[in-house]
Each structure stands twice: as C-alpha cells, then as structure tokens.
C-alpha cells in the first residue's frame, strides 16, 4: 500500500503545483496589473518574502515541486530496468537529494521571512 500512497501523493503534488505555478506566473508576468513594475528586483522579492502568505505559498510549492519532480525522475530511471539493488540505491539517493533540496530551500525562505 505504501507505493500506492506515494503515487497518490505524486498526483496531489501535481495538482498543488498547477495552482501554485498559476499564482507564480501571475506574480511575475501579470504583476504590472497590480502596480508592481519590477517583480524581480531585490526590493520586490524581499517585500514578497516577508509576507506570511508568500511564506506558506513558497514552502508548499517547494515541497510539492521537489517531490513531484524527483518522483517522476525516479520513474524514468526505473524504466531502465536497473535491477532491484540498484533501484533501491537510486530511491535512497533521490530521497536524500530531495530532503537536502527541501531543507536548503526552506531555510532560505524562512531566513528571508525573518529578515
């Protein structure tokens, strides 16, 4: 049943990303409609990062993107029929890589929020 739950989580992460990416694109490409003309400038990024809503938005988005991406990447690697032991090694490697990415990303997001 574990693999079914992991797969379901992969779908759920995809669904979350759909909305988060839409919001992300709107922030960066439609921001002039809201009177923000340079969404990528240091001041704009910091102003956004210090809002609680954006903190939650980035934390969820980061976790969903890393999980969805690495799960999909793992599935592609599995299709190479690597053999059971190498498959376990790949899964463990990707889990470690994913955890590191999420931790580093979370640390950066929280630090920007607290500045």
């Amino acid at each position: 049943m574990n693999s079914v739950r992991c797969w379901f989580l992969f779908l759920l992460a995809g669904l979350i990303l759909f909305f988060i990416m839409a919001a992300h694109m709107a922030t960066f490409h439609l921001s002039h409609f809201f009177g923000i003309h340079e969404p990528l400038s240091y001041d704009s990024v910091m102003a956004r990062s210090q809002q609680a809503l954006f903190l939650i938005f980035y934390l969820i988005g980061l976790s969903a993107a890393v999980y969805h991406g690495l799960y999909g990447f793992r599935r592609i690697l599995m299709e190479l029929s690597l053999g059971r032991s190498l498959e376990k090694l790949v899964t463990a490697g990707l889990c470690v890589a994913g955890s590191v990415m999420v931790l580093v990303g979370m640390a950066a997001t929280v630090m920007a929020f607290l500045q």
């Binding site: 049943m1 693999s3 079914v4 739950r5 797969w7 379901f8 599935r75 599995m78 299709e79 029929s81 059971r84």
Partner: protein, 268 residues
C-alpha cells in the same frame, strides 16, 4: 486478386538473423490472414511456422504483427488491410522463437503474479459443486474484463512494455482488476500489493494503445484506471473491504414427480 505476402522468418538453429520470404497469394473476398497462411503452408512453403487453433478469435493463439499492427490472424480479413503487400511478423514485445511464433512464458509468468483466481479464506470449506451468489450488477462490474483470451496483443501494442521489460503489462493488470472486482473474491489487498510494487501499475503511461488494439474489446487501459482508483481509495481507507459473497443455500424446492434424479456430482 493477387497480392504479395512477406513473411518474417527466423530459425535460431540456422541463423541468428531474421529475414523475409516473399510469396504470391490469390486473395478472395472474406479471406483471413490465417486462411492465407494456411494456404501458403499447404501449397507454397511447408516450413513456415505459425500458431493457431480455434480459427474464430477464441483461443488467442494466432496473434501476430500484420502490416506493423498487432491483430489476430483469424480475425483479420486480408482485403481490409491491403490490396498489394501483406507483411507478417511475430508480435512485438514478446521473445520470437521461430518465424511468427513467440514464447509466451514471460507473459504468463506476469499473469500468474497477480493471482488470477478467486482468493478466499474459506476456500477449503466451500462445497465445490455448490454455487456462490452474485447479482447481475456485480457480474456486470467485471464482465467486460473477463473476456480476455490472453492473446498478448495489448502487450505488443503497449509502448511501456517496449521500453520496460519488467513492466507487468496491460493484460495482467486488467486481470488483477477483474478478480479484485469479483464479488466472490477476497484477495484484493494481495493483488494490489502484487500490482503496485516494482514495475507494476504505476509504470503505465496512459497511452491507451492496449485498448485500441485489443480484439475482444476488453479495454485494459480502462481497467487499469479503475484499479488505480480502487487502490487509492483502499489505501486511504475510503473503501470498505466487503466480505466475499457467500454460498447459495441448497435448493429446497420439492421436485415434481417423475423427474429423473440428477447424476451424482463428479467432484467430491
């Protein structure tokens, strides 16, 4: 009408290479590919090897690539496919052992892993000559998927089977759903475990090529989607597992006089 038939030839005892033999065939209205092959074997080249048995789309033995698409040879009329060149090759994604013949042992091994039979705790205690009740609706929920004749065509059409040799394949997965959905069965969890682990159901890419090619209208891609839904609901505890349907009570009707008694059951 005369057409050219190109038959893929392979004899590993003589050469590791596959090659084509070409024949001319007089085709008439309604002639199937299998009819054509039998005519060629009897009149042109007795060494062509191919499998068949029922000649009416029931046994699943005569599946092959016909002009690059998997079909049953007995179920495909030549003139519906071509009026000039007919190319016959062994099924893709199965090991070719001779001319148009493939080895199905890996296919049946995968079929076996999903436990394609009713699983229930009380199997030992059941009266083998008795009946287990099932409503028409319960039968309807898996009937379509039980029409599978194990011809291997869906596996030949599947792009995932082409790239991932360990993938369970549409046939086995559709049958896993067929038995799990059967109201007489109680082995859903075991089957889900077998179908979800390793190179199982999550490797399906939703291509749908299996359903398009299946000659019996089984629609394995649909079964895979339904099975996925059932797996998720069960893993989240949103679907109650039901006990398997029980045995019918023995008939209590008083038979009319002068009706002969039925013979004794042959299975004790």
């Amino acid at each position: 009408m005369k057409i050219k038939v190109k038959v893929s030839r392979f004899d590993p005892d003589k050469s590791p290479e596959r090659y084509f033999s070409e024949y001319e065939l007089e085709v008439s209205e309604g002639m199937t590919v299998l009819d054509g092959l039998i005519w060629l074997k009897e009149n042109a080249d007795p060494t062509i090897s191919f499998r068949y048995s029922c000649r009416m789309g029931v046994c699943g033995s005569c599946a092959m690539m016909i002009n690059s698409y998997p079909h049953l040879a007995c179920h495909t009329q030549i003139l519906e496919i071509t009026k000039s060149v007919l190319v016959l090759e062994p099924l893709c994604n199965h090991a070719n052992v001779r001319d148009l013949i493939c080895d199905f042992s890996a296919f049946f091994e995968k079929h076996r892993t999903i436990k394609p039979h009713l699983l229930r705790e009380d199997a030992e205690k059941l009266d083998l000559t008795g009946e287990i009740s099932q409503t028409p609706q319960e039968l309807e929920s898996y009937l379509q998927f039980s029409y599978c004749i194990k011809c291997g065509i869906c596996v030949a059409a599947c792009p995932t089977c082409a790239t991932d040799k360990e993938y369970l394949g549409p046939q086995a997965l559709a049958q896993a759903y067929r038995y799990t959905q059967d109201s007489r069965d109680a082995g859903g969890d075991k089957r889900i475990e077998a179908a979800a682990e390793g190179h199982g159901i999550h490797h399906c890419h939703y291509a749908g090529a299996c359903s398009e090619a299946c000659p019996k209208g089984v629609d394995p891609a649909f079964a895979i989607q339904l099975f996925r839904k059932q797996m998720v609901l069960r893993s989240l505890g949103l679907k109650e597992t039901r006990p398997p349907a029980g045995e019918m009570p023995p008939m209590t009707l008083n038979p009319k006089p002068n009706i002969p008694k039925p013979p004794e059951p042959t299975i004790k």
